[in-house]
Symmetry: C2
Subunit: 158 residues, 2 copies
Amino acid sequence: MKYSSNELLDDIDIQLLKHLGQDSNIATKDLAAKVNLSPSPVFERLKRLEASGFIKKYIAVLDAEKLSYGLMIFCNIKLKQHDKAIGSDFVKDVMQLKEVVECYNISGDYDFLLKVYARDMKHYQDFVFNKLGSVKSIGSTHSTFVMCENKNTHNINL
Amino acid sequence: MKYSSNELLDDIDIQLLKHLGQDSNIATKDLAAKVNLSPSPVFERLKRLEASGFIKKYIAVLDAEKLSYGLMIFCNIKLKQHDKAIGSDFVKDVMQLKEVVECYNISGDYDFLLKVYARDMKHYQDFVFNKLGSVKSIGSTHSTFVMCENKNTHNINL
DNA sequence: CTTGAAAAATGGAGGGT
DNA sequence: ACCCTCCATTTTTCAAG
């Protein structure tokens, strides 16, 4: 069975992923035309790419600014201590916070990096003092504010 | 006309955006069932939300690891000088690099923050020395490596 | 918003290279 | 193993009320 372990995708699969990573609303027949196939085999390939996890899901990309989340912040976090229990406590707590859209365990001076969306500075202040402030495992934080988003492809570029 | 300037979305629009931001493959009729409406008005709302830009696009979310881009790096960049021309030169150059999936102009010690995907350390080394290395406007860089992705919602949480 | 109907996409069967 | 054409079913799309 194809794609079972670490099997390679062929050129057409890569083409399909490349297109769908940028626009998934394209009709199967238009996608088929782009890779010079008929809709059926393309349809079968899509189902396989979904079932095998190369495609995780399909989403609508929303305009954060229009939805009044005009402020993006990268928040660096240092834990109080570095044992496993403290770390998983932190992750569990931070997962609940709706302002946090991404959370990474990182190398360097800080332990975690959060990408945070806030309506405005007042909202972010409340987030830091009231929400992060009540997460016990946090030692210190450092915020970096985004002034301008120059590029965001939302996917790896194959 | 609805949504023309800074008009408010109603509760149902927000519900629709919330669902589509997590899964856009849902059929209109299933979406309609979730908000207790028939497919037609939901369809009309979707078209308005798309036309007015609240929904920017629809994409497939790809599995970077499975596609052998197992390494994520946040690369902080300091420019040589801080005039407008140098800044836009940098943005223009960095836009071309396929390893860079996000680029932000930020506050703090560094000028830009890049989110970078690489196959492995060798690939990233090549990226820093050969690709970033040939961008004239760059003064210095500082890389932060992602050890674990704990959360990624791919959208604001309404 | 509802009804209702035309247009289109989905997903399978069966056959060919 | 992969692709094709054909066709039934379902879904999308868009009138008109």
